[in-house]
Assembly symmetry: C2
């Protein structure tokens, strides 16, 4: 049995939708008042709906991947042996799942690894604080450094300070990031982590600690990448857990000089190896532009990276497998488990260098946890309104809203999108995401299996629509 | 102005209440059907209500104490320098707050302190797990020990196992504690921590790790005390964070032998010093039995002990201060900040040895966090029903229910209660308590100021009723 949108049906639908589009634009007041002027209905292909609903109800592929990867590999810091084990695990898993053309595309990069780390207030109130080094932090000696804390409530306050206020001291940058469904605080409030170390270094700071870029109140610091730019010498750079940063603020408010002893040992070396793991669901038309989906395989070293981003590789891989179970899509679906995203999207850049000039039908990644998808956006809104309308209709039963003002999203597909690939973003609810992001708490228990299945259902529906119609093969459908 | 329950009023009330008590017992069906047969109303003394409501609305004493102690001292492990600093801080604070007879009553005890600790799976899936030693754990060498994990789902399963299944291995005990409002799971599910190490040692185990006795999913292990009894040799004994225990279970379910490398360094020495900090609100009648209230000053070493038990000393001290602000009670209110509760209630025992034979009007402690009080129980239900009825009426507007089946509660007052003191227990809601109990997460941010004030209001009402009437002094009321 073949099922796909018949050409005739699509043409009729497109015409109706385009007509409706213009009607609605031209006479919005009228369209709200008279049912006669409503746009014609957009109906979801029953086969798309069935695939979506099967995934929603019974997907186990995603759980198998996220549970397996986090249990059998655990943390998988970029360019380490652990990440190499993760690639081997991925190749094995993707082959077992029946995907084609499974292979690794390697690249080299500098590797940074964490050593001993601790922070303690020496005076006026001796006590330990929970700290973790930021990626590519400079290293202290094993004995650590001791210095007076100088407080700034923002990166701009640090930037405005005279060098004399900073020189030889340990800079502390505070902020007030709060949870947001779209995660929008991360850009603005992430500045202390991304820019703080360089600015502090250039002003002669001994070291820097920031309030973790996170929205929780647990004693688990949030690490994350930063680079020393503008010729800044690497200095020790760490994040205090949120409760510890608040404790430091309370201590500073007593008005006495605060001295901290800080140990942040780390190692950096060049020429280490990472790579992307790639697999495909071959399309019936090998010349048709491919559909690129995926997440990133590497994680930070503090946890098993369940939400960042084992769930992303799991969701996208599961969706591809549901398409494969249903038959052969017209377009090839290419799954990429990107390497070394956390240190700066190196896997995404390597992919774009190797494949960016190949034609892509769409590029999409999942890298924002495993909570439910609440909205989506796509370039197709402008370039292919009928398909955008179909996506809107197919995702609505999952509670997903279209976002006409959305943007391309995702470090790993960004270089490919920059090279010309159209994009679609399925946005997960990020309300809880920055409670766990880059902390020891990013573990499997944070994933809600029901919400994970909703993700898989959305991705399956999206692939069913964009892959150009699925033709069932000679085999029986095997969905479970 | 003097305000207290007039003798006449009390006699009338008591008679009415006692009559009602018997009526209600004799004819419950009737009393439910006819308003004529309902017990007479129990009215709350307006002065008690005013003190209670002032505390509910505006108490800041409790926050001052809990914020100050956790910020300026931080962790204060029993019998360490940190606990000594906490005692000095307490003496200073209690004097500043205007209490009388502020002093320390010292005692000696063994001290146990934590060194380096780590746990990692060596095979089949190399990865680190979050671990913390239990109190009075045996110590490994700095190099640690390596052994095969043997799994038990309960202490009884370990007890039933042949020695040969355990000998030379690392015992792992699992359990399934869930949150409960009354914290009732702690008794049953705490057995792996309290008894597991001794049983494992006697069967020849190399070491033991348990699933933390906790209800959260954070990478923060729950420590807690255990003793090696029955002649058992101390062995290294640790708690895995709940996500790590679940990870270990998943790894074990793969069916391959699991090897763990465990480092749990600790030190123990005898003859260290702890002590109770004592202060009083002197009563007008120095010969009247005293009212004993308090919490414990020491904490575990992993956090600042905000809910365990800086909040308990803060709540009880604040309530006493509200009474003092209103005037002089008939009975002396004695506040004790008990030392060394965590290692086994040593401060409570020391207090009972010194003061257990003195007459006590009531003994009560706060040691279950700072969430709202939801019910209370007291021996007075049987010995003094009119006062029990007054307490019931005065606490009801705070949402507090009487619990006729309650029991004396609290490690620190237990020896004094055993020596004959009547008791009252104001039970806090424990639903969240075991998320943070004995972990690095027991920090100030876990305290909700509004719920803290509700605690103070309840304790203030209780003291106002039980302290025998408050006579205002020559000074103006100073409540803030």
């Amino acid at each position: 049995m073949t099922w796909r949108f018949s050409l005739r049906t699509r043409l009729i639908m497109n015409r109706l939708i385009i007509t409706a589009f213009f009607l609605a634009s031209a006479a919005p007041a009228l369209s709200q008042q008279s049912t006669a002027s409503l746009p014609p209905p957009v109906l979801v292909d029953p086969n798309v709906a069935a695939l979506r609903d099967d995934a929603l109800e019974g997907d186990h592929y995603a759980w198998d991947v996220v549970e397996g990867l986090t249990t059998e590999v655990g943390q998988r810091l970029a360019a380490t042996d652990a990440e190499a084990r993760a690639r081997e695990w991925g190749v094995q898993k993707l082959k077992t799942m029946g995907f084609s053309n499974v292979h690794i595309e390697p690249f080299t990069m500098p590797v940074w690894t964490r050593g001993a780390e601790s922070a303690e207030i020496v005076s006026p109130f001796p006590q330990k604080l929970a700290v973790a080094a930021l990626g590519y932090s400079g290293s202290t000696s094993p004995a650590g450094v001791t210095g007076e804390i100088v407080y700034f409530d923002s990166v701009d306050a640090l930037r405005a300070a005279p060098d004399s206020a900073v020189k030889g001291r340990i800079v502390f940058i505070d902020h007030h990031m709060m949870p947001a469904q779209d995660g929008s605080g991360y850009g603005q409030f992430g500045a202390p982590r991304r820019q703080g170390p360089t600015i502090a270094s250039r002003k002669g700071a001994l070291a820097i600690v920031i309030r973790s870029i996170g929205t929780d109140h647990h004693r688990n610091p949030h690490t994350g990448v930063q680079y020393f730019t503008d010729g800044a010498t690497p200095i020790p750079a760490g994040a205090l857990a949120v409760p510890d940063a608040e404790q430091l603020v309370r201590i500073l408010k007593r008005g006495k000089p605060v001295t901290m002893h800080l140990t942040l040992v780390s190692q950096r070396s060049e020429g280490a190896r990472s790579g992307n793991v790639i697999a495909e669901v071959p399309g019936r038309d090998p010349k048709a532009p491919v559909i690129l989906i995926g997440g990133h395989l590497d994680s930070w070293d503090l946890a098993t990276g369940a939400i960042d981003d084992a769930s992303g590789v799991a969701i996208t891989t599961a969706a591809a497998r549901h398409i494969m179970d249903a038959g052969r899509p017209l377009r090839t679906i290419r799954i990429v488990w990107f390497g070394a995203e956390e240190p700066g999207g190196l896997g995404g850049k390597a992919y774009a260098e190797a494949h960016g000039k190949e034609p892509h039908a769409i590029a999409a990644e999942s890298d924002f946890g495993a909570d439910r998808i609440w909205r989506f956006s796509s370039q197709l809104m402008k370039t292919d309104p009928p398909t955008y309308a179909q996506l809107t209709a197919a995702l609505a039963p999952l509670g997903i809203t279209k976002n006409d003002n959305g943007d391309a999203d995702g470090t790993d597909v960004e270089p490919t999108v920059a090279a010309g690939a159209p994009w679609i973003s399925l946005n997960q609810d990020g309300t809880r995401y920055f409670d766990w992001h880059h902390t020891p708490d990013d573990t499997l228990d944070k994933i809600d299996p029901a919400q994970l299945r909703q993700n898989v259902a959305a991705w399956t529906a999206m692939l069913a629509i964009l892959s150009g119609g699925i033709e069932s093969g000679p085999k029986q459908l095997k969905r479970r």
